[in-house]
Symmetry: C2
Subunit: 612 residues, 2 copies
């Protein structure tokens, strides 16, 4: 670090402040003071320390930088402009509709790996990246810039714990401790020792510094990678630092300066400012690129008709099968791997599996981190516990992350464990993620082939798996495209179309048999693809049954299969009668519960009879 010019870095820091102030004032909104507190840290990281190719932000062995405190976006944009990646004039288009320089960072920008702005998520993603670097035998490091306020988020401590136990010395957290939150001072103000004690208790090496002293910043960065612990740099800063009349004052969160204030602030900073372009940025080392090529297909699964296999177990089998053919596949679980069957993958490929313990938010963040590095991560737990990570999944949607989720133990059909363990809102939750794919297999063949589809699809995909064993009903040749549906029973004169998925499909088939004996024909559709829905197939089937449709789902009535079918097809005149879990469920035997809440064969028979 001896060749780094301290004065240049100070000049760049001042320039980053000027950009941040000018851009937010031009936009009329934004967080200039949150940029200013971190300007010296970012200037030093970007122009005095991190190793990357500034012309190729995606280069596989670049150091990674995650702006966990995403509201400081203008600072990040300014830094990249100063590397020369794009003209600094662009910065004044901040937050405009036609600019990718959004209010908070999104991967629309080539130098942003993940969307940030929902606080406390960046460190988990960083843990995923650091684990991936280790897997890929690359020496890039991952730097995560956090605010002090977001350290109140439990997800930060989930990530910190996993980083500590995994001894991720290639991970560096920098906490910008400017002591002021949005609506009041943080709980701990400038008491850096609180943060030190916490990170140390979670297995980190800590350094406390003055976050505006570039020499001090450089010095601690010089020791990055030493030892076998992750490093956190606790930087005491002032919110609005560098703006004499604003710094360290309350009521300046998320507020641009007026034109006059901005002029005054910039006039103060201008004499110190120096543009960063041309400053030597250390190059990343040359190491072999990881093999992240997607295959075009996978070998087929091994079942035969009638085999009794739970779809959750088929998921585990599928992970192993595709994991052998595709080195991109990695997996993680939240201490439920013996229930979700991701354990099969763990046993086969322990180095590609991350046990995240009971910390689902971090598990999803870790998965997203792997996804940004070209892997295809499958994160699994009980479906109901994915609700724990809904914000992470939401933001992964904004990131268009290549994230695969598998949620097991859905619905009342889990039985005795009771409602706290039943996934009954997961379809609603996952459908409402931008760009998501939601899949719900009924048998092992379908489950395995959907896992193939998930791995080959780019984007977020969710697999809903069931606890009970169900018979294999599909031949191995059957294809299950995303957005499809299967018609299992259909005859001339059918009176209703029953749309089911998962365990209720078997109930629908039983109901069809019963009704047939009574002279009533029904069409049975397997809606294995809940989003996108097999709309055309269902519509065509419905039209042949006078638009009478019954949906049956082991899910609450809101936002699931019934709403999906009605939401897509009411415009066509389709009438959707929903069978779902309309009450607070309780413990009991699976069959008792399915009967009680009206989603079993008898309930279907009864509903169909009431309609014909």
């Amino acid at each position: 670090m001896n060749d780094v010019d301290i004065e240049s870095l100070k000049g760049i820091a001042a320039q980053l402040r000027i950009h941040s102030i000018a851009a937010t004032t031009a936009a009329g909104s934004g967080h200039p003071t949150s940029c200013c507190s971190a300007a010296d840290l970012v200037a030093t990281l970007f122009f005095g320390h991190m190793r990357y190719d500034p012309k190729n932000p995606h280069y596989y062995n670049n150091d990674r930088f995650i702006l966990s405190k995403g509201h400081a976006a203008p600072l990040l944009y300014a830094a990249w402009a100063e590397t020369g990646l794009f003209p600094a004039e662009e910065l004044l288009k901040l937050r405009q509709f036609h600019s990718d320089l959004e209010g908070h960072p999104t991967p629309r920008l080539p130098f942003v790996d993940v969307a940030t702005g929902s606080l406390g998520q960046g460190l988990s993603v960083g843990v995923g990246m650091a684990l991936c670097a280790r897997l890929d035998k690359l020496d890039y490091r991952t730097y995560v810039l956090l605010g002090d306020g977001e350290c109140a988020e439990g997800s930060v401590w989930e990530a910190a714990s996993l980083a500590g136990t995994n001894q991720l010395s290639n991970l560096v957290a920098v906490v910008d401790i400017n002591r002021l939150g949005q609506s009041q001072p943080t709980a701990f103000g400038h008491n850096l020792d609180v943060y030190r004690d916490r990170f140390e208790a979670f297995g980190w090496r800590t350094e406390e510094i003055d976050g505006h002293d570039i020499e001090e910043i450089l010095e601690v960065l010089g020791a990055v990678g030493l030892g076998n612990q992750p490093l956190v740099i606790l930087a005491k800063t002032l919110k609005g630092a560098g703006i004499s009349f604003i710094q360290d004052k309350e009521a300046w969160h998320g507020k641009p300066l007026s034109k006059e204030e901005a002029d005054r602030a910039i006039a103060e900073l201008r004499p110190m400012a120096k543009s960063g372009a041309g400053h030597p940025i250390p190059a990343p080392t040359q190491l072999p690129a990881p093999k992240n090529e997607a295959p075009t297909s996978y070998p087929p699964p091994p079942y035969k008709l009638g085999d009794q296999v739970a779809t959750r177990e088929a998921f585990g089998n599928a992970l192993v099968r595709i994991g052998e053919a595709d080195t991109r596949i990695v997996a993680m679980d939240g201490d439920t791997k013996n229930s979700t069957y991701s354990e099969k993958f763990f046993k086969k490929f322990p180095e590609r599996f991350t046990e995240c313990f009971i910390a689902e938010q971090n598990m999803v963040g870790v998965a997203v981190g792997f996804a940004t590095r070209g892997k295809v991560p499958f994160a699994s737990t009980f479906a109901c516990f994915l609700t724990r990570a809904y914000d992470q999944i939401r933001v992964a949607g904004i990131s268009r992350a290549n994230l695969k989720l598998a949620g097991s133990h859905v619905g009342v059909s889990i039985g005795e464990d009771g409602p706290s363990q039943m996934g009954l809102e997961d379809l609603a939750m996952m459908r409402a993620i931008a760009g998501s794919v939601v899949l719900y297999p009924s048998d092992a063949v379908c489950a395995e082939k959907l896992v193939d589809q998930m791995a080959l699809h780019q984007g977020i995909a969710f697999l809903r798996t069931s606890r009970p064993k169900t018979p294999v009903i599909y031949n191995l040749e059957e294809q299950f495209p995303i957005g499809g549906a299967k018609i299992l029973r259909q005859a001339e004169g059918d009176k209703a179309t029953v749309v089911a998925a998962g365990v209720t499909l078997y109930e629908a088939l039983k109901a069809a048999d019963t009704l047939k004996n009574e002279g009533i024909g029904i069409t049975v559709v397997d809606a294995y693809s809940i989003k996108p829905l097999g709309t055309e197939i269902i519509r065509a089937a419905a039209q042949k049954t006078s638009n009478v449709v019954v949906t049956v789902e082991d899910h609450y009535p809101e936002g699931g299969l019934g709403d999906a079918v009605a939401g897509e097809l009411s415009v066509e005149g389709v009438r959707v009668h929903k069978l779902a879990i309309f009450e607070h469920p309780r413990s009991g035997k699976p069959a008792e519960l399915m009967a009680q809440y009206g989603i079993d064969a008898a309930a279907i028979v009864s509903k169909v009879k009431s309609l014909v």
Copy 2:
């Protein structure tokens, strides 16, 4: 504690183990080993330490006990049976459909305040109870029994931090450190010091003990309440303790003993066992009861037609207004109080407000804790950040908690901050909570009156508020019952019914004006009650427009207003055309975004014209 008979407690602990083993073996499922590790702790707490009326579990000054590790439910049930609350024979009905002794505890049982079973949530609820005891000037204490595995959940550390900063010396956490998780050993095994360091860093007093040594347990419990810190008792235990051939062994999580194994285990324990009924349990102190009476109504809000008021600001005003009339009202926020306007309540009633900082999971848990003590908690943050607490909200649904949530800054109409700050899945998420009420006001009068309804309603209710100012369109006399809807425009010959809410209602009204000028009449419905939906009103309106309905919502298309209307009314032949946010949105001006994503007046006009 000198008068406590150690031998009796040992006897009760053995009895609790016998009950737990017998009940799970009878049920054929459950977690006997997780019961056995905590049996000495629970026996000592229930029969040697806690102050409560065993005949009246709801008594307002009873010490509270939360089984955060809910899978040890049989142990909890056994303890209450041993107090004499119900016959011990009932325990053998564990997990049966007609028994309230469910797989995990729910408040169907009088001695359970909140459902547990999704790990890591109990401590937050305990923090809420402890804060409420302080507010109510009661001296009951709150005890939370956690497993070691669940300490990986970030929510535990959110709760720990708030307990520490609030110096909740009336709160006691007991961690049953049995070192074995579900699928493998925990990260820290029997290294109690890791837990000690963490809790100390979070502001707690810590005690490390042998969790099977009743004298040691009693000794540390004897010092509960000393000092000004919350206390955590870190208890080293063995999973399955007391069953010689199982204790401390892996692969015994969530697995009942066979009949033979159970007989053998019980034979080992029987000689020590002693029934607890009749053992003297310390009585709670007599203190004045808190005033938690619900009023029948509230004074009216103060607006006049045309006032420009954001519904989020009306929410803040309403909190103050009803807070003056109703001492049950308490509020909490996640460092967004100047944006959600809960700050108004904070300024007026600081002692009834809890700043939870940026930790939404804990905020919801704290709110639930207050609710269990007879308060009416309103927890607020940006709607998108409530996704962070979806699991807590889900479990609050199972608890039938009297929880009120307000989510601000919904939809693309927030503008420049971009997608990470936009609530676009909150309707889907909140509709899919068992028993929830989902409300979405368009103007200040409606918002305030819905807050009244929420406070008077028993159960979970969610208020969706908007960032932009909107004009007051309702008179103060207008009533807004839950489950209602308002028809704002309707005339003979209308061609379509447009169902809108929030900001889109104003777009619908503008569209109605535009279309009227072109000779096309439309009915405009304000669907302020999304769940329960004003189904009959919408149905009647739709029928008069040939069942042509257009829904317009600032939300993703899945699980929101459009799906709700279609899901309820497709059976009536209603055809629902959805306008919603069908793409990944971006930053921009609110009007630009509403136009781009097709939910503004022009989009409504265009859609209606395409249909007539």
